[in-house]
Symmetry: D2
Subunit: 253 residues, 4 copies
């Protein structure tokens, strides 16, 4: 059965995710909420080169979020916008709408707000929602267990304009108990979409696990994978690892 999806965010990544959702057979992009009022009332589908109507654009400046979700019910909200949106879809949670958030700049307060929503509905949060990165993290945890004395460093590469250390690198550092100041090396050059490499050094051998994003559609694919999984979940707070756990559990059979 076709699932109804609402999308927050229509920037560089958001618009690519919109396209992936439109392309997905079992999903329908009901609407898009963006910050500015540019293209308000038009359809995302047209702006992305399609001829049919899909994904009507709303501006968060003008929307009344007390009633918005009554008139625009969806199965899942996918959020690729920024930290402020979590305050706008609280009324969605009470209506049982699932939430998949890939926002990368939450403060501690924002994150707690998102967690509160999980008392009402199923919320999945992953700041880097690709299958590949989540595999990388699990594989690194495993290797650290086998080779506890290995020295570990992270190298992340992104386009020149990207400010700050990548949220994904911080997450990897956290999961591997590394020093975020010392063990993350950030390269900012040209137009590199995004790569994360974790290097394990032993006296006589080196092991490298590297993930390269080719384009932002990887986020769309990850979000769709997460959406299909979270749609059948009870209320609660979930991470991407759990979404892929059903695959993992079968590995050592």
């Amino acid at each position: 059965m076709t699932k109804k999806v609402g999308l927050f965010g229509f920037g560089r990544t958001g618009s690519v995710v919109a396209k992936e959702i439109i392309n997905e057979e079992d999903m329908n992009l009901q609407w898009v909420v963006r910050k500015s009022n540019k293209n308000e009332g038009e359809y995302a589908s047209h702006l992305l080169g399609y001829e049919h109507d899909e994904g009507k654009i709303f501006s968060s400046e003008n929307a009344d979020f007390n009633h918005f979700f009554d008139d625009n019910w969806v199965d899942v909200i996918i959020d690729f916008s920024n930290s402020s949106s979590v305050y706008e879809y609280k009324n969605a949670a009470t209506r049982g709408i699932r939430i998949v958030s890939a926002v990368t700049d939450y403060s501690q307060d924002d994150l707690e707000r998102l967690m509160e929503l999980s008392n009402e509905t199923a919320v999945l949060y992953s700041p880097n929602i690709t299958l590949g990165i989540n595999f990388l993290i699990e594989a690194c945890k495993l290797l650290k267990r086998i080779a506890p004395n290995a020295d570990i460093e992270i190298v992340e590469e992104h386009f020149k304009e990207k400010e700050n250390v990548s949220g994904t690198a911080l997450r990897i550092a956290e999961d591997l108990d590394l020093d975020k100041e010392k063990n993350i090396n950030s390269i900012r050059v040209g137009g590199i979409v995004g790569s994360h490499e974790v290097i394990f050094g032993l006296p006589n051998q080196t092991i490298r696990i590297k993930h390269e994003s080719l384009n932002r559609a990887a986020f769309g694919q990850g979000a769709i994978f997460a959406t299909k999984w979270v749609i059948n979940k009870d209320k609660g707070f979930y991470r991407m690892e759990e979404a892929i756990a059903s695959q993992w559990s079968k590995i050592n059979d």
Copy 2:
């Protein structure tokens, strides 16, 4: 308690492994059996720059293997020589001496002979006995499960003189159901010690897992790890994966 170790093979890799065993606190290198009669009767320790006596050198040309193991009992034989040695230490197996073989050029017949010995003692066989390669293989199996549609290719790099595709690459290809002719790419240049990279390609992301050997001591470390594990095992045929399994099982706790 210090364990007594006998080593078959004293070539390029074997001599480095000898050094690692000598350096290992809990182990004593009782003897080394080599093919030629070069340095027969001398001590491996001296040839490796140590001043004490450790690892007396015997030649398989002159040794009488019907009685050798009575006079030269050890806890474990580590074999870094070639396929013929398996016929020489059959009398060791009946005396309960454990066997760790890292021989890379067994024929099917030789391998069956090695397996027969496992009816008498604990035998661990791994043609690439480094921790890193065995991790790489397990991680690749895992990723293939999560991303069954990924295209997979292997790139292996070794020094110019190395003939044939690496045994490790063939093993990886087998474990991942790849085509050994098409999916293995062999680079032979200069003095590269050895590297194996497995590339997983998805439409929007690429994942690479790479193992680089810095020097042959990695094999010694792997053999020591395997030896410590196999020493407490009942008779049977084991692979390196099982030696590291106790680490793995704890990962998803």
Copy 3:
């Protein structure tokens, strides 16, 4: 002064090149010739998301190339289509229109036809028209001179669907006197846009020069660079190396 540009080809790469030309301040995309009659009479600019009219689309099925260039004069033709177009713009050469061809599938006959046009106008031909690849080739030639005994191998990676060895890899092999069968390793996985690595192996060190294409706009940038250079040239047959030679000659000052 704004230069008038005509483009042959509006496929996967051609349409990206069209966008780069439209974005370039000193150039105007006068028209696009494509094989099919899809969108005939419309403007490339609209199909690429712009609102102004630029790059009227013609179909080579319906165009009369005896008169086409009288009515549609340009300073330069850029060709990202296929080998057949060289027969369509012969009347352009006699009118002094410069030609930049990045076609990758010329037969020997086609290539000779292109060379003949250089008796009438300036023709620049480069099957991989990025700055980076042309730098890579020159740097490799240099290194081969310094280290004549180095072993050399090429690894090229592209998306799964790409058939045959890449033309660029063949070109590199030719320039470095390598064996095209043995020394080129082709990886075909997922959605990799395109990378070429040349590995120089010496007994104690390895040197790698690697070029990664992030997206097809790199071809547009290279074509624009070549166009600006060829526009001031007399008739003759030129390669990309020469277009960047003015930079090179200053290096050892």
Copy 4:
């Protein structure tokens, strides 16, 4: 004609360089000066596994450098020790003995002292004396000229114990006008011998030039190359670039 060589330094790198000099057909290792008095009076050749006498070991604690070079004349001194040695071989320079220094920790004062010696003899100084690194630097200068807008970053990887940023990375940063604080990324893990990668990022393509040292013998080979070149030079101060310049000048012929 066989050239006589004296070596300062017999540590981790120095002893490998000694071996390369002993192996070199046209050179004879006359003596080795080391800081400690360990093995004083013995021959480096024996410690390195040879049976003949070559490279008698002196300690700088006990040597009298006012007369040392009269009794122990050589054609060239190769220095792989540390910054203090430059004060010990000043009397060598006045005797016309050439000097090749690969010392990495000179202060500004030390370096000036080395330069003064070039008023008396030919002095070649290179803190990373491999052919590969010197090629890398020249190739990077070239690329920067062709693509002046590229963003440039350096990644250097070394074994865990190595303190400070590598001298080679600092040198590359200087030659490319980079910010030594911001643009160098230092990885310290396990037993990596040493690698330097320079990444050039453009909006649509990335170019990487990477040098990997496989073992310290690369330094010996570079020093031998430099020695053969400097031996025919008049007094003056030279860099490795010049030693390989004769190769370079022929490239654009």
